[in-house]
């Protein structure tokens, strides 16, 4: 084979390989870019509603006392959790208590009547006129 032919073949192969690699590399880069764009869009779509929903729908939770609990004390500590900024109303046949819930957790010292005390705890969320969240407990102040 002539020298010139050999050189031509080598150059041809080299150039061809280079072009092929370039094309493959560019295609992969574009694929990655497209995937990123789509996933970003999805994140953007779902992010805001999720954040908003979570803060609105936290249930009213009473940590203590337990329902049907017996105590020999004239007062009971009521502990619970509710949406921050909600208005908490604690009512019984002998007392009503209003708490502005500045944090999520709330605590209140509540008086008891001798015998059965039906205690209703309501949380009005952020001044929105929707149905309040409610929990009802019975606590028994009994002397044995």
């Amino acid at each position: 084979m002539k020298k010139e032919t050999l050189v031509a073949i080598i150059l041809g192969l080299g150039l061809g390989t280079g072009v092929a690699f370039f094309l493959v590399f560019k295609t992969q880069e574009k694929k990655i870019e497209n995937t990123k764009t789509i996933s970003n869009n999805i994140t953007n779509i779902t992010k805001t509603p999720t954040d908003k929903n979570q803060s609105d729908f936290k249930p009213l939770e009473i940590i203590e006392p337990e329902n049907n609990q017996i105590t020999d004390k004239k007062n009971i500590t009521i502990k619970g959790r509710a949406v921050k900024g909600s208005l908490i109303v604690i009512q019984s046949p002998i007392k009503e208590l209003i708490i502005e819930n500045k944090e999520e957790a709330f605590t209140a010292d509540f008086p008891l009547a001798l015998g059965e005390n039906t205690i209703l705890i309501l949380a009005y969320n952020n001044k929105v006129q929707i149905e309040p969240q409610t929990k009802e407990l019975k606590v028994y102040y009994l002397e044995e």
Binding site: N68, V89, Q91, S92, P93, L114, G115, L120, T134, Y140
Partner: protein, 236 residues
């Protein structure tokens, strides 16, 4: 050569044995002596601790089970009472004539009662150990049940001083406001609670109220309200 190797090996062997003998401590006791007293001691300590733990858990279990049940008496027979609870389930109460104590809850305190003082439709609170649908009563307290609700005022009747209310449970009540009713309102700015006159109550206001439950009023849902708190609609 072989002789000298043998001699040197013997010498090394003897030297090593000698040092091993010297290394033994005179004061060391046998393994059996060391182990036996601590095993016995640890077993007895373990038994005592187990016993204490069992006792503590039994007490905790007993105290945990000590919750009250309450309801209206539906039947009294011999030393058994049947009640219908607030959750609408039926419970059997067993009374021990020697051990069960029965009281009436009054404003001044507790007044002791006899089994014969309890009547059908009376509301009682029972304290004792529950076993499925039966409670072996330690104490029985006769009490007056109260209902606590909240809702919206749908009608204010100035002619007969009554309020029609729809509760958060979607029940309708007619509440008679008496001279003895404690009437209160929340200040929407300070959140403080103060007295309110009947004329200031408006339809659409939120009301939190309570009344004494009487079976006789159950049909028409009309009750004398003992106290209420108004949250003005302007707050929302």
């Amino acid at each position: 050569m072989k002789k000298s190797v043998f001699t040197i090996s013997m010498f090394i062997f003897i030297a090593l044995s000698f040092t091993t003998v010297l290394a033994q401590d005179e004061d060391a006791t046998s393994p059996a002596d060391i182990v036996t007293p601590s095993i016995t001691e640890s077993i007895s300590n373990e038994n005592i601790q187990d016993f204490k733990d069992n006792l503590a858990s039994k007490f905790a279990e007993l105290n945990k089970n000590k919750k009250a049940a309450a309801g209206f008496i539906t039947e009294i027979k011999d030393n058994k009472i049947k009640i219908k609870t607030n959750e609408n389930s039926n419970l059997d109460i067993k009374i021990d004539p020697d051990l069960t104590k029965i009281y009436n809850i009054e404003q001044s305190g507790l007044k002791e009662l006899k089994m014969t003082d309890l009547k059908n439709s009376a509301y009682i609170i029972v304290v004792g150990l529950p076993l499925e649908n039966t409670i072996n009563a330690n104490y029985i307290y006769q009490d007056k049940p109260f209902v606590v609700k909240s809702g919206k005022i749908v009608e204010v009747s100035k002619s007969d001083y009554s309020l029609k209310v729809t509760t958060t449970d979607k029940d309708d009540y007619t509440l008679d406001v008496e001279s003895s009713t404690k009437q209160q309102i929340m200040n929407i700015k300070t959140l403080e609670v103060g007295r309110v006159g009947f004329s200031k109550i408006k339809e659409g206001d939120t009301i939190h109220f309570s009344f004494a439950l009487k079976e006789s009023n159950a049909e028409n849902n009309r009750y004398s309200v003992t106290r209420f708190l108004i949250i003005p609609q302007e707050y929302f």
